[in-house]
Subunit: 250 residues, 2 copies
DNA sequence: TAGCTTCTGCGTATGGTCTACGCATTAAAG
DNA sequence: CTTTAATGCGTAGACCATACGCAGAAGCTA
């Protein structure tokens, strides 16, 4: 109870529903959930850049300033929207499931969440996860590593490593997909274009490795897109496995 | 020569100095380098949020709209600033150097660059690297993997994997460092606070793994900060090594 | 040398952004 | 019934990016 009053950021208390509502004044006309849902609706429709306080308020049929009774600042609105949009993590690791498939499933869930709400990647992250869903995701990620013999800090680092990779990869592919949509081309065409451009830029300069790359075929079609994701994930999990195996032996 | 006219984004042509300057009108009073340097100066002093067109123009003693003669839009200014701030990559792999230490050095250089200019992490990335420095970094990253038997797409994926990890880790630590500076606390204290907060939030809920974590010590001091970085990197490189060794054998 | 063309810097104006402040209204507590 | 606190929100201030157009500078051509 000495640390019962660890002070939390206001937006986090809001998200967890820890704000006492003494119910003195008039009844509130909205809930935080409604505000977040409206923000998400706007982001889904027109991208994160379209999420302005006035636009979200308009979506709810209230005045702009009313939102500030539900959220301390726009930045908090965005963070809370992201946490809400992530949704619940994939099912926890089953008793009969190995750590590796479990972690792979968790990573895939991460990708899926970002691809389901591509605007999430533009929400600036501010520190480690503390939102309700963020904490649940952390919990399930750690659950995948139970019984591996990894130390506490190693388990945390591993989960961060995997989620970081998932986020990066999802961001990159979403960037390409959106750029392709904007240009009216396929993602495949756009991938080819990148290497054409690199070819043009490295002409005349001293870029032996890149020039070498261009002689081998680096073309990617849609199926190899997924293969690329799995390549990185396999590298990552192989690296973890080396450690796990070493711990089990030593 | 059929692909001699691959069209490049305007900002990229600008950065590479590929814009013909027919020299018809009056002499320009600035160079792109000066504009970028001014923007970087502002970001360095007051953060990326302080970088507005008018502020950068003021720094240079010109009118706001004059900047648009050097840069198509603010977004391009930021991208170009980031590319310039990265600077040249670490020395290429030496002939006697193994791929693993070379890639580790390259990764460390990545970290150093972001820590030298912490605002870089807030510049929204838009696709694969095409700026002059971005391409040079790519070149040196690939050079570390020469002779490993990895295919072209595998080399590229590996480099992306490592740079992504470096960026993520540098971002996280920079977030913590800045938050600590704002709160007048040490990064160590703030790390402890995170776990205290997590303890508070997971009380009463169903978070067995996180609760378990809290019983083991997850405290990090400044030295373990660096150990955490190395842990992730070792996992990553171990994973690559498994593949490289397999290729050498098979 | 005269005129034409093109490029420069930049003043003005438009339509946005976030949010501090204060006020009238509502509802519960004493 | 009075006191107290919380709500919705109108107004206003301080920014922001950038479209447009113009006056002047510099080179090219005749």
């Amino acid at each position: 109870m000495s640390d019962s009053d660890v002070d939390l950021p206001e937006s986090i208390e809001l998200a967890w529903g820890l704000r006492e509502r003494p119910g003195k004044g008039p009844k509130r006309s909205l809930t935080l959930e409604q505000v977040l849902a409206a923000g998400i609706r706007v982001a889904e429709a027109d991208g994160l850049a379209a999420v302005s306080m006035s636009r979200v308020a308009g979506e709810l049929g209230v005045a702009t300033m009313s939102l500030y009774r539900y959220v301390p600042a726009k930045h908090d609105l965005l963070e809370l929207m992201a946490d809400a949009a992530y949704g619940p993590p994939p099912e926890v690791r089953r008793p009969d499931e190995g750590w590796r498939p479990a972690l792979a499933r968790w990573a895939a869930g991460n990708i899926a969440a970002i691809h389901r709400h591509p605007w999430i990647r533009h929400v600036p992250v501010g520190g480690p996860p503390m939102g309700p869903n963020g904490v649940r995701w952390l919990e399930h990620g750690l659950a995948a590593l139970r019984g591996t013999g990894l130390r506490a800090d190693e388990r945390v680092s591993t989960v961060m490593l995997v989620s970081g990779y998932a986020r990066n990869w999802a961001s990159l592919t979403a960037d390409i997909t959106e750029a392709a949509a904007r240009a009216g081309q396929s993602a495949e065409e756009l991938g080819v274009r990148y290497w054409q451009r690199l070819e043009r830029l490295t002409r005349g300069g001293s870029y032996p490795e890149i020039r070498q790359l261009l002689t081998e075929s680096v073309v990617e079609n849609a199926e190899e897109f997924d293969a690329e994701w799995r390549f990185g994930l396999d590298r990552l999990l192989d690296g973890v496995e080396v450690l796990v195996a070493g711990r089990a032996a030593g």
